[in-house]
Symmetry: D2
Subunit: 360 residues, 4 copies
């Protein structure tokens, strides 16, 4: 695709930490061309380089630094819009964009549990995208990416769910500070400390997992019948949510079968070779002490989940750890992959959007 | 008790991090007087101040700094001996001291699961001390303190066990680096990271808990029949092990009953007003986000467990967090309280030991 | 002094991190009785326990938890008022209290460089308190405590200044996150990082040091003629500012003379045995690798500076490190000691204030 | 160059942290092909994947994992040998390799100050390589890379030295834990702490800087006549040494001239387009709060120094910060660039070494 053919995209809430990750990942994207950046009214009118407190370890591309920050409201001449907005404003703003014909890929929680909005992890439930086709918001749509702690869980669970079924899942999270955005967690609260509470997180982890693993019956999504119990903690780690999981399977199985299920796991992003797709959605690690946030969060560009320490559980059937990068796979990267999937499936070939010649 | 009446004690392995904690806690102890410090042969003969790399945030008492470090072998003219020895040597050395008439209070794992050795948390199973009376090692005895992650768990479980019974307990730990001793965990391994593996820790947590909550039938201890499953992690925290626990009770109960059980909980150390006893063995904290290692590890001088975030669990019955200071309550302080209990119960009134006039 | 005789005091800005330190230090103070707590209008009317996010490692005293938070404005029936207000509001509010007859002990920067306001470190320049007697604000006064990085420097410099004179001082700081208040430094900014910039800090460190070491000539304070150059950094440390200092003395001296000067150093707080005074204002540490924030910030209850690593400098004369606890000695504790000095010197025996029978 | 034409190289001490960095950087190197890995006798005979505790955030290449670890002694059939050996053994082992015809590129301190051994930073003093030609060790040679804290200093100083001259340089370091190797700094020593002492570091920083900026007069290197004073600290940062520097120049200059000098700075690695050369050896950063270890250590693949916060100094002339990645530019990457320079300058075209067709 030559630059001229790229789809013009906007990033809403571009100055925050997830917004910054979007820019990092979109800087040289083969399909998408960032043409608009928005932020709060306070930042609107400034150059992005002045409005944002850049915190990524790769430099801010000069092209973005010079772009003028817009208000977070339509009209913006981009058919595809990435939302890194704060949940306090995302609900309304995203609806406004969708109802004026934009396809909004949202990282906010506001619409995730809305029955007419697909909540999609591309390797796990790509068929749920059809929920968007059955509803209509003036030609536009809202597609949502799950919470940053949900993603590592569902990537690890999906192959087990498909192969063995799942009855009960217990999960204890150790989540990185970047999951709280910026400024987020005060340093005085987390240095030499762990905080055993993240407001709303346990509920999201439980309900989103059931929706994502649920069944689309042509009209709506029916939640998966899995009993889930979550305990969420914040730890002094920059990036990467580590989860300690225990599962009861639908049928008895050997550890080697679980391992095989993870290693065989592949989905539409891999089949369609989407630009942001990891080579493997799940890496099974054999070391005694893996996965670890600092060592494994960046596997496959931060887009893969890492699973390790599989062993029998004396209460449920098996226990293991899973890890994923919360601001890449768990936020900006996951949303980007979702956009690529939507394009690849033709969801953007609609009125008001430029046709994209992608084989589906 | 005037200084003249104090019991002479030795600290074995006094230069390590647990050994240093022992010295901090014993510096002004009303019953015990430190008269000997031992370490590896490499340190023997040096002044303690030169042999130890002091890492406590209170200064090393001048009196200890000047003491000559001895080899870790009998004879040492102290009836009571605290062992902070590394597990690689503790087994043999402790046996040598016990068989030459010393009462050894050990913090090492070597003898904990030995049927003839009591493994005691003074508020939980003081009656298990009698195991020592029924065995004999030449007039001496070995009394053991549990692993640093076990202690916070059994203090939280004991009131539930007594009041409701316990069927199944799932526990995920987030453990401080001081639990690995010194030098212990390399900083390059734990900064910005979590390590999901501590060799042998999960097994200890499971087996020690069953022994401590077990029943002494006059001859031996019968393990408690509880199904336990543990997942252990190292986090970048200096001191304080935080546990996420989920329990299935022996009978249905309301959250308020669990809370009452914890708040009512008191044991022999409190009844006997032992010098190192916490006012309350368990503090139930009502804040949304408690307990936290940095904020709560020092409650009651680091001798209490803190419990919080009690809520229903959709898999077992209830989930909650518990926290305890791993080098105080979980090591040196716990061992010291155990020694006080042994003295208060008359275990030291034996040949070779000076009589201590403590009401039991 | 019986409780009835204690001086009623208020803490302005009591919910912030310095405000919380004030409460910790005032909880059992022999001279002062906290009778009022203020905060922003948003918190006014709430119970303090609800308004404050308590972050100290000692529990919030129940008595304070129940007190109603007041607005930060007179009238408040306390002759002595501690100000932990944010600099953005401190200037005006403190003036309002002073002009209605209160003695305000301020930790804010707003009035520090005002020629009519004493900027005092009790061991260093107690005579500067007279500046307050010569000015008048309706019977009240404002007394100020220096910036948290200045205090460790002037405590270390004062004995050198008095003994040898000082020509040039170069200082590089490594400052704890608590120096920025709460929420202060975002964790994503400081984990695995150092930030080489703290707005306004270098200027404060230079100008305040010259004022504190300056001469009171009966009417005003004349700045000390010392050339100072500061470079300030934020490091991932909770509490304790560490400074690398290099000095050119007024005359040639041996290292042992500097050491003697520090060890002999004592001031009015020690002579008058003020309740919060450290035994020694400066501890000279001999270890190769001292002082360290975690190990030495709490010496003498966090009220002493620790100096170490004295060695010749090939550019100026000597280099060394100095450390002090930034929220105790560098903020709440320093202000409290200043209040004690003011009371001991009779500054509170004025209209509107209850007489305090303290020998001066 | 086709693989067949690549120069066979060995990595001595390959299991340590610098050794691991070498492997990461050599994995796909266009000129060098790793054919041998050595470690201590304890590891010899094992597969590298079993012998090394891999701690890099990129996976260990499978090819290296399977290689058998050799003892650190000749003969090894590689003309070029990278030494990541510990200083305790490096001296002797490197001499053994050099005297059997190998060119040894060493990261150890053992031979750095030896008059017959070049100590080279390729952009700074490439001409010093001729020292090696004038000496002879049986056809081989030892070329050394400076200490990890020296490199960021000399890269920042070189353009100033060439343009203005330098009289006095004061430097305070804040060094990452990886600088101490692995296991290196215990986590209990550095979490929530700064350690103001690194044995031998200040001396190395001073003497190496003078040698590197010195003059090669055809026979030997004459040290630069600069007065240097260093104060070294360890901070809780994973990678990246940050330095606070103050300089007195040989002539008066404006800040803009210093900036120009840094921005214009380029050397032989850039002119010869060596594979590992950074685009710019020094990045001058304009942000108020740059450079920061986490944000800027990876600029130009970790091979560039970042300079910022330039401002006048009231004692010397100017002060600023400089940062460089201590295990990339400051160790393995710097040594690799040095090897590339040596090859490009024809130093390897000698008996026993395969000819490499590189334009010089």
């Amino acid at each position: 695709m030559t630059p001229r053919d790229k789809i013009p995209v906007a990033v809403l809430g571009a100055t925050g930490s997830v917004g910054q990750r979007f820019l990092t990942l979109l800087a040289d994207h083969p399909w998408f061309d960032v043409q608009a950046l928005t932020a709060s009214d306070r930042s609107a009118g400034k150059a992005y380089g002045d409005a944002a407190h850049w915190l990524q370890s790769t430099p801010l591309p000069e092209r973005f630094a010079r772009m003028e920050v817009l208000k977070s409201a339509p009209p913006i001449p981009c058919p595809l819009v990435f939302s890194a907005l704060d949940a306090s404003v995302a609900g309304e703003v995203e609806t406004a964009f969708a109802s004026t014909g934009h396809v909004v890929i949202s990282n906010a929680k506001s619409h995730r549990m809305d029955p007419s909005v697909p909540l999609v992890v591309p390797e796990v439930n790509p068929d749920h995208l059809q929920v968007a086709s059955t509803s209509s918001r003036g030609g536009g749509a809202i597609l949502t990416n799950p919470n940053c702690s949900t993603i590592g869980l569902v990537l690890a669970l999906k192959p087990l769910w498909d192969t063995f079924g799942l009855k009960r899942v217990s999960v204890v999270t150790m989540q990185a500070v970047s999951g709280a955005g910026f400024p987020g967690v005060p340093s005085y609260q987390i240095l030499d400390n762990v905080v055993p509470y993240i407001p709303g997180e346990e509920e999201k982890l439980e309900s989103e997992t059931r929706k994502i693993l649920g069944t689309f019956d042509g009209g709506a999504v029916r939640d998966a019948e899995i009993r889930l119990s979550a305990q969420c903690h914040r730890v002094p780690v920059l990036d990467g949510h580590l989860l300690a999981v225990s599962v009861e399977l639908g049928r008895k199985a050997e550890a080697s079968e679980l391992r095989d299920a993870w290693e065989r796991f592949s989905g539409e992003p891999q089949a369609k070779a989407l630009p942001t797709a990891p080579r493997h959605p799940v890496h099974f690690l054999e070391e005694d002490d893996a996965p670890q946030p600092r060592l494994h969060r960046d596997l496959d560009g931060g887009m893969a989940a890492s699973v390790g320490r599989l062993r029998p559980c004396s209460i449920l059937d098996f226990k293991f750890n899973t890890l994923s990068h919360n601001t890449i796979r768990g936020a900006a990267g996951g949303a980007l992959l979702l956009a690529e999937l939507a394009v690849a499936k033709g969801l953007l070939e609609r009125e008001g959007a430029r046709t994209v010649g992608v084989e589906t």
